[in-house]
C-alpha cells in the first residue's frame, strides 16, 4: 500500500521519515483498523522520537565525558541505536498486518458464532413449528380414516394436501434461505481469499521495503562509521604529524649540539695525535738504530753459521758415500738372505712333509699302543681278579693256620693255667685267679675293624639305645669303636633325629609315602639312609664328623672365640683319624671277635664320659640345621678327595701287631711265676727225696713187723704145743714170766 516513492526519501535523519513512512500507508488504507493502528503507530513513533532525543541528549552528555575517547565509538553507538530502531520499527510494521488479520479473524469468529447461534435458534424454532404442523397433519389422517363420505374425504384430503404443501414450502423456503446464506458465505470466502492475497501482497511488499530500507540504512551507517573513522584517522594523523615535527626539531637541535661537540673533540684529538706522532718518531729512530746494530751482529753470526754449514756439508757427503756403500752391501746381503730364505723354505716343506708322515706314523703307533694298553688293562684286570682271589684264599689259609696255631697255643696256655692253678691251690695253698688278657679272647687274625657304613652305625646305635632304654641297668658295659668318644650316644641320636626331622627335603617324597606304615625306628633309619646318601656321608667317620660338626657349631655359637681352636682341633683330629685308620687295620682275623667287645668298650667309655661331663644342654636350634648341613657338606668335599688314594690299600694287612700278639701268647705265664715254679720244683724234689726215704723206712718197718708177727705165731705154736705140757718146766713159762 505504501508507494515505493516513500522509500526513496529516506534521509539519514531517520526518525521523522519513519514516522511519515508509517503515516503514509495508514491514512490511505481502506481498512479502518489498520488506519487506527497506523495512527497509533505514528503517535508512538513521534513519542519514540521525543524519547530518543532525550536519550540522545543523555547519551551525548555521556559522550561528552568520553569525547576524547573516540569519535568513531560515538558514531558506532549512534548507528547501532539507529539501526536497532529501524529494525524494531520495521518488524513492527510487518507484523502489524498479521496482528490486524488476527483481530479481524477474531471479530469474524465472534460474529460467526453469533450468526451461528441465531441460525441454530431459528432452525430450532422452525423445527418446532413444522413439527406442530406435522403433528396436526398426522392427527388429521386419523380423522380422515373415520370419514365415510367420499366428498368429505376428498375435501379433507385436499386440505391435507394444502397443509403438506405449506409445510414443504416452509422447508423449501428455509432451505433456499440457507442456500442464500451459503452463497453469500461463498462470496464472502472469495472476498476473504482476495483480501488475504492482498494482505500477503502487502506483507511481501512491506518486507521487501523493510529489507531495502535496512540495507540502505546499513550502508549509510557503514558509510558514516567509515567517515567517522576516517576523520578520526585524519585527526590522529595531524596530531601525530605535529608531534613528529616537534620531535624532529628537537632532534635537529640536538644534532647541532652534537656536531659542535664533535668538532671540538676532533681538534683536541688532532693535537694529541700530533704530539703522539712526534713522540713516536723519536721512538722509531732509537729503535731503528738499535735494530741496525742487531742486524750487524746477526750478519756476523750468519757468516759463522755458513762456515759451519760448509763443514757439515762435507761431513754429510762423506756420510752419504759411506751409506751408499753400505746400501750396496745390504743389497748383496739381501739377495743372499733371499736365497737363504728359499732354501729354508724348501727345507721347511720337507720338514712339513716329514712331520705329516711322522704324525701318521705316530698315530698308527698310538693306535697299536692303545690296543696294547687295552689288552694290558684287560690282563691287568684279570690279574687283579686272580690277585683278589688269591688274596682271599691266602686270607682264608692264613686264617686257618692262624686258628690252628692259636688253638694249639690256647691249649698249651690252658694247660699252663691248669698247672698253675694246681700249683697255686694244691701246693702253695694260695687262691688262683685266671689272668685276663685281651689276646686271650681273640679269635682269628687281628685286623682293623672295617669302616662300617654310616647307616650301619646308626642302626646299631638306634638298636642299642632302644635296648638301653629297655634294660638300662642290666646292660653290661659296652664300648663303641675307638673313634672320638667325646660324643655321647644320646647326643648323637638326638642330633640325628633333628637332622632327620629338619632335612626331610633331602628324602624323596616317594620314599616318605613308603615309610608311613613302618615302625618309628625303621622309619628314622631309612630316612637317615636317604639323607646320608644325599649328603654324601658314607662311612662312620663321616657320620661322626657330622656329629662333631654339629657340636662344634653349637660350641662356636656359644663362644665365638673358640672358633679358631675348634678349627685346629678339627685339623688335628682329622690327622689322627687318618693315622688310626691306617693303623687300625691290623688284626683282621680278630675283627669279628673283637667287635662285640669294642662295642661294649665304647658304651662303657661313653658312659663314663656321660658321668664326667654333664649332658649338653640342647641348644642347636632346628632352624640352624640346614645352615650347618650346608657348611658341613662344603667342608666334607675336600677331605673326601684327598682320602681317595689310601683307600685302595685297604686290603693290605697290617701285621705289626701279629708278633706282639704271639709274643704275648708266649708270655702268658710271667717270669716271676716261672721263678716261683723253679723254686717250687727244687723244693718239691727235695721233698720227694725225703718222701722216698720215708717210704723205704716204712717198707722196712712193715717187713720187721711181719717178721715179728711170724715169730709170735711160731712162739704161740710152740707154747701151745703138747710137748710143753708134758715138760715140767716148759720153755713157755720161762718166756712167760718175763712177759708178765
Amino acid at each position: 500500500m505504501n508507494p515505493p516513492g516513500s522509500l526513496a526519501d529516506l534521509d539519514p535523519n531517520l526518525d521523522e521519515h519513519l514516522s511519515t513512512q508509517i503515516l503514509a500507508p495508514s491514512v490511505h488504507s481502506d481498512n479502518p483498523q489498520e488506519r487506527i493502528q497506523a495512527r497509533r503507530l505514528r503517535i508512538a513513533a513521534r513519542l519514540e522520537a521525543r524519547r530518543r532525543e532525550a536519550l540522545g541528549e543523555y547519551l551525548d552528555g555521556k559522550k561528552e565525558s568520553e569525547e576524547d575517547q573516540s569519535k568513531s565509538y560515538k558514531q558506532k553507538e549512534e548507528s547501532r541505536l539507529k539501526l536497532a530502531k529501524l529494525l524494531l520499527c520495521g518488524t513492527e510494521l510487518v507484523t502489524n498486518i498479521q496482528v490486524a488479520i488476527d483481530t479481524r479473524e477474531i471479530h469474524r469468529r465472534v460474529e460467526e458464532e453469533e450468526i451461528k447461534r441465531q441460525r441454530i435458534e431459528k432452525l430450532e424454532n422452525e423445527v418446532k413449528t413444522s413439527q406442530d404442523k406435522f403433528d396436526e397433519i398426522t392427527s388429521k389422517w386419523e380423522e380422515g380414516k373415520q370419514k365415510r363420505i367420499p366428498q368429505e374425504l376428498w375435501e379433507m384430503l385436499n386440505t391435507q394436501q394444502l397443509h403438506c404443501a405449506g409445510l414443504l414450502e416452509d422447508k423449501n423456503k428455509l432451505i433456499s434461505e440457507l442456500q442464500q446464506e451459503l452463497k453469500t458465505k461463498d462470496d464472502q470466502y472469495v472476498k476473504d481469499l482476495k483480501k488475504q492475497s492482498d494482505d500477503i501482497c502487502l506483507l511481501l511488499e512491506r518486507m521487501e521495503q523493510q529489507v531495502k530500507n535496512v540495507m540502505k540504512t546499513f550502508r549509510e551507517e557503514l558509510y558514516h562509521i567509515e567517515k567517522a573513522f576516517e576523520v578520526e584517522r585524519q585527526e590522529l594523523l595531524a596530531s601525530n604529524k605535529k608531534k613528529w615535527e616537534r620531535a624532529l626539531q628537537a632532534h635537529n637541535a640536538k644534532e647541532l649540539e652534537y656536531l659542535t661537540n664533535r668538532m671540538k673533540k676532533v681538534e683536541d684529538y688532532e693535537k694529541q695525535l700530533n704530539r703522539q706522532r712526534i713522540r713516536d718518531c723519536e721512538e722509531y729512530n732509537t729503535i731503528k738504530i738499535k735494530l741496525e746494530q742487531d742486524v750487524q751482529i746477526l750478519e756476523q753470526q750468519l757468516q759463522q753459521r755458513k762456515a759451519i754449514y760448509q763443514l757439515n756439508q762435507e761431513k754429510l757427503e762423506y756420510n752419504l758415500q759411506v751409506l751408499k756403500k753400505r746400501d750396496e752391501e745390504s743389497t748383496v746381503i739381501k739377495s743372499q738372505q733371499k736365497r737363504k730364505i728359499n732354501r729354508l723354505r724348501d727345507t721347511l716343506n720337507n720338514l712339513r712333509s716329514k712331520y705329516a708322515k711322522q704324525i701318521k706314523q705316530f698315530q698308527e703307533e698310538n693306535q697299536s699302543l692303545t690296543l696294547d694298553y687295552q689288552r694290558l688293562v684287560l690282563q691287568f684286570k684279570e690279574l687283579q681278579k686272580a690277585m683278589r682271589h688269591f688274596a682271599l684264599i691266602d686270607d682264608e689259609k692264613f686264617r686257618e693256620i692262624w686258628l690252628m696255631n692259636e688253638e694249639e697255643a690256647k691249649d698249651l696256655i690252658a694247660r699252663a693255667f691248669d698247672v698253675d692253678r694246681i700249683i697255686h691251690t694244691h701246693h702253695l695253698g694260695l687262691p688262683w685267679t685266671a689272668p685276663d688278657f685281651w689276646f686271650l679272647k681273640n679269635v682269628g687274625p687281628i685286623s682293623q675293624q672295617p669302616q662300617k657304613s654310616a647307616t650301619q652305625i646308626v642302626e646299631e646305635m638306634l638298636m642299642h639305645t632302644e635296648e638301653e632304654e629297655a634294660e638300662e641297668a642290666a646292660s653290661e658295659p659296652e664300648s663303641y669303636l675307638d673313634l672320638p668318644k667325646q660324643i655321647s650316644e644320646k647326643t648323637t641320636k638326638r642330633i640325628l633325629m633333628l637332622l632327620c626331622d629338619e632335612s626331610g627335603f633331602l628324602v624323596e617324597s616317594k620314599l616318605l609315602s613308603l615309610l608311613l606304615p613302618l615302625e618309628q625306628n625303621e622309619c628314622y633309619l631309612l630316612r637317615l639312609d636317604a639323607i646320608f646318601s644325599a649328603l654324601g656321608i658314607e662311612s662312620e667317620d663321616d657320620l661322626y664328623k657330622l656329629v662333631n660338626f654339629f657340636l662344634k657349631y653349637r660350641a662356636h655359637r656359644l663362644s665365638s672365640s673358640l672358633q679358631i681352636e675348634s678349627c685346629s682341633q678339627a685339623s688335628t683330629e682329622k690327622a689322627s683319624m687318618e693315622e688310626t685308620s691306617m693303623g687300625s687295620e691290623l688284626e683282621l682275623a680278630e675283627q669279628t671277635e673283637m667287635e662285640g667287645e669294642k662295642e661294649e668298650g665304647l658304651v662303657e667309655g661313653e658312659k663314663e664320659e656321660e658321668e664326667e661331663t654333664p649332658p649338653y644342654p640342647w641348644v642347636i636350634h632346628p632352624n640352624d640345621v640346614v645352615k650347618i648341613l650346608e657348611a658341613f657338606v662344603m667342608g666334607l668335599k675336600k677331605p673326601r678327595d684327598s682320602r681317595a688314594p689310601p683307600r685302595v690299600q685297604k686290603n693290605v694287612r697290617n701285621n705289626s701287631k701279629d708278633s706282639e700278639y704271639w709274643q704275648a701268647l708266649t708270655t702268658v705265664i710271667p717270669s716271676s711265676k716261672q721263678n716261683l715254679w723253679d723254686a717250687l720244683y727244687t723244693a718239691l724234689e727235695k721233698y720227694h727225696i725225703v718222701l722216698t726215704q720215708r717210704a723205704k723206712l716204712l717198707q722196712e718197718n712193715s717187713s720187721l713187723e711181719q717178721q715179728n708177727t711170724e715169730l709170735q705165731a711160731l712162739l704161740q705154736q710152740y707154747l701151745n704145743s703138747k710137748i710143753n705140757s708134758e715138760l715140767q718146766v716148759p720153755p713157755t713159762q720161762v718166756l712167760w714170766v718175763p712177759k708178765k
Binding site: 483498523q33 487506527i36 493502528q37 497509533r40 503517535i43 508512538a44 513519542l47 519514540e48 524519547r51 536519550l55 547501532r80 539501526l83 536497532a84 529494525l87 524494531l88 520495521g90 518488524t91 513492527e92 510487518v94 507484523t95 502489524n96 498479521q98 496482528v99 490486524a100 488476527d102 483481530t103 479473524e105 477474531i106 469468529r109 506483507l203 518486507m207
Partner: protein, 501 residues
C-alpha cells in the same frame, strides 16, 4: 578420443599397435587386451604417445610430426588425468573413489554427473560440492540453512519429502520409499511433508499424482482414505530429529472435496505408534491437519515420557479443552520446551489445565496460545501460574478475548517474574485501565524485552511508556551481555518469529 587411445597405449603397450583413430573410446578401454599381436619394439611407444596421432604407423607418424606445426606437449593430458576421466565415465559401473589420492578424488567428484543412481553415490560420496550440484540441478531454490548446512542432508531430505508428497497409498509401490531407506537413513534428520495424498478410489479415472475427483459418496467409506503409514520410515531413519507433517492436499483445484483433507483415526494411530518408537525425535509438528481432541489425545498419549522431545507444534488444528488438558499432562510428563497450540479451540478450561501444569513446570520455555479463546478465566489462571513458574520466557496470548482482570494479574506477575522476556497480548480487549495497570507492572520489571500490546485498546500514552521501559530493559540486557552483536541477533531472531506467529 585421442586421449583414450593414448591412455590405452600407456596402459598396455600391446594394445597400441592395433588402436586406430576411429576406435570407440569406451571399447578401447574395456575390450580384452590379451590376444592382440604386440609390436616388436616397445621403445617407440612413449614417443608415439606424445604424438597427437598415435594410431598412425611409424612412418606416417613421423611425417605428421614433421607437418604438424601446432603440435606441442601441452595438448597431451596426463595419464592420471585420463584415468580420472575414465573413472568418471564408468563410475556407475565401477565406483572407485576411496582408493585414490585426495586430489584425484576431488577431481573425480568435481566431474561426476549428478544423475548417478543414489544406490551408487549415497553411501560413497560425502563431498558437499557434489551434493550441492545435485541439489542445484533438481531444485532452483535451496535453503541449505534449513538442513543444517549440509547439502547432502538437504538432498536426501528433500528427495524423501518429494517421494512422500507424491506417494499414493495403494497405487505407488511402498518399496520406492523403503528402497531409499538404507541409502538415506544416516543423513536424514528432518522430515517435512506438507501434503499426504489419499488413496485413489477410481483408478480408471485417475492418474497417479492427480487428485481424486470422485463424488461425495466417499463419505460413507471412511476407512480406505488412510494416508501413507510413516511407521516403517520413521523406524528406519536412525537420526531423525524433526518431523513436520501436514495432512493436507495442495493444488487440488476444481477437484476439491472435503474428503481429501481427512486425518483418519488409523492415520492417527499409526503416526502415534511411529513417533512413540522414534527415540531420537526432538521436534514434532502436526499442523493444519484437522486434529481434533481425540486425535490430539492419541498423539499426546504416545508422546508421554518421550526421552528427548523438545518441541511440539499442533497449531492450526481443531483442538479443544480436552486436547489442551492432554497437552497439560504432557507438560508434566516430558521435557517439552516449546509448546505451540496456536489457532485452536482451547477455551478457559483448557487454559486452566495448562496453567496448572505450567505452575510447577521447569522445562517449558515457550508457550503459544495465539488465536484461541481462553478469555479472562484462562488468562487469570495462566497469570497465577506465572507467579510460581521460573522457566517460561515467551508467552503468546494474542487474540484470546482477554480483558482488564487478566491485565491486572499480569501486571502483578510482571513485578515478580524475572524470567519472562517476551509477552504478546495483541488483539485483546485490555482496555485503558488495563493498560495503566500493565504500565505499573512494567515499571518494576527489568527483564522483559518485548511486550506486544497492539490493537488491544490500550491508551497510547501507556503503550509509549511501556515501550520506553522495554527499551531501557533491552539496553540493560545488552550491557549485561557485553556483546553488541548478541543484542542485534536477538532482535533479528525475534523479528521473523513475530511475523510468522
Amino acid at each position: 578420443m585421442q586421449d583414450t587411445v593414448t591412455t590405452s597405449a600407456l596402459l598396455d603397450p600391446s594394445h597400441s599397435s592395433v588402436s586406430t583413430q576411429d576406435k570407440s573410446s569406451t571399447g578401447g578401454h574395456t575390450s580384452s587386451t590379451g590376444p592382440q599381436p604386440s609390436k616388436p619394439s616397445i621403445t617407440p611407444v612413449p614417443a608415439k604417445s606424445r604424438n597427437s596421432h598415435p594410431g598412425a604407423n611409424f612412418h606416417r607418424m613421423r611425417r605428421i610430426i614433421a607437418e604438424d606445426p601446432e603440435w606441442s606437449l601441452a595438448i597431451v593430458p596426463l595419464l592420471t588425468e585420463l584415468c580420472i576421466q575414465h573413472i568418471i565415465r564408468n563410475f556407475q559401473k565401477n565406483p572407485i573413489l576411496k582408493q585414490m589420492l585426495p586430489e584425484h578424488q576431488q577431481k573425480v567428484l568435481n566431474h561426476l554427473s549428478p544423475d548417478l543412481p543414489l544406490a551408487v553415490t549415497a553411501n560413497l560420496i560425502d563431498n558437499e560440492n557434489y551434493w550441492f550440484r545435485c541439489c542445484m540441478q533438481r531444485w532452483p531454490v535451496c535453503h541449505v540453512a534449513h538442513h543444517g548446512g549440509s547439502w547432502k542432508r538437504m538432498f536426501f531430505e528433500r528427495h524423501l519429502e518429494n517421494l512422500l508428497k507424491h506417494f499414493i497409498p495403494g497405487t505407488t509401490d511402498p518399496a520406492v520409499i523403503l528402497d531409499l531407506l538404507p541409502l538415506c537413513r544416516n543423513y536424514v534428520r528432518r522430515v517435512h511433508v506438507d501434503q499426504f495424498l489419499p488413496p485413489v478410489r477410481l483408478p480408471a479415472q485417475l492418474r497417479p499424482g492427480d487428485q481424486s475427483d470422485s463424488g461425495s459418496e466417499g463419505e460413507m467409506e471412511e476407512p480406505p482414505v488412510d494416508h501413507y503409514q510413516l511407521g516403517d520410515l520413521v523406524a528406519g531413519l536412525s537420526h531423525l530429529e524433526e518431523l513436520d507433517l501436514v495432512y493436507d492436499v495442495k493444488d487440488c483445484g476444481m477437484n476439491f472435496e472435503w474428503n481429501l483433507f481427512l486425518f483418519t483415526y488409523r492415520d492417527c494411530h499409526s503416526l502415534a505408534a511411529a513417533i512413540k518408537a522414534c527415540h531420537t525425535l526432538k521436534i514434532f509438528k502436526l499442523t493444519r491437519s484437522k486434529v481434533d481432541d481425540d486425535k490430539a489425545r492419541i498423539i499426546i498419549r504416545s508422546l508421554l515420557d518421550h526421552p528427548v522431545l523438545e518441541e511440539l507444534d499442533l497449531s492450526h488444528n481443531l483442538i479443544g479443552d480436552r486436547g489442551a488438558r492432554g497437552a497439560a499432562k504432557l507438560l508434566s510428563h516430558s521435557r517439552l520446551r516449546v509448546l505451540n497450540l496456536a489457532n485452536n479451540q482451547v477455551r478457559a478450561a483448557g487454559a486452566q489445565s495448562l496453567a496448572h501444569a505450567l505452575a510447577h513446570n521447569t522445562n517449558l520455555i515457550s508457550l503459544n496460545l495465539r488465536l484461541n479463546c481462553i478469555e479472562d478465566e484462562g488468562g487469570q489462571a495462566l497469570a497465577h501460574a506465572l507467579q510460581t513458574n521460573k522457566c517460561l520466557t515467551t508467552l503468546h496470548l494474542g487474540g484470546n478475548e482477554l480483558s482488564e482482570p487478566t491485565a491486572t494479574l499480569l501486571s502483578q506477575v510482571l513485578a515478580i517474574n524475572t524470567t519472562l522476556t517476551s509477552i504478546n497480548l495483541s488483539c485483546n480487549h485490555i482496555g485503558l485501565d488495563g493498560g495503566k495497570q500493565l504500565l505499573e507492572g512494567m515499571s518494576d520489571n527489568k527483564t522483559l524485552l518485548e511486550f506486544d500490546l497492539r490493537l488491544s485498546d490500550v491508551a497510547q500514552e501507556s503503550e509509549y511508556l511501556i515501550g520506553q521501559a522495554l527499551y531501557a530493559n533491552r539496553e540493560a540486557a545488552r550491557q549485561r551481555a557485553l556483546n553488541p552483536s548478541h543484542f542485534m541477533s536477538t532482535i533479528t531472531a525475534n523479528g521473523p518469529e513475530n511475523s510468522v506467529g
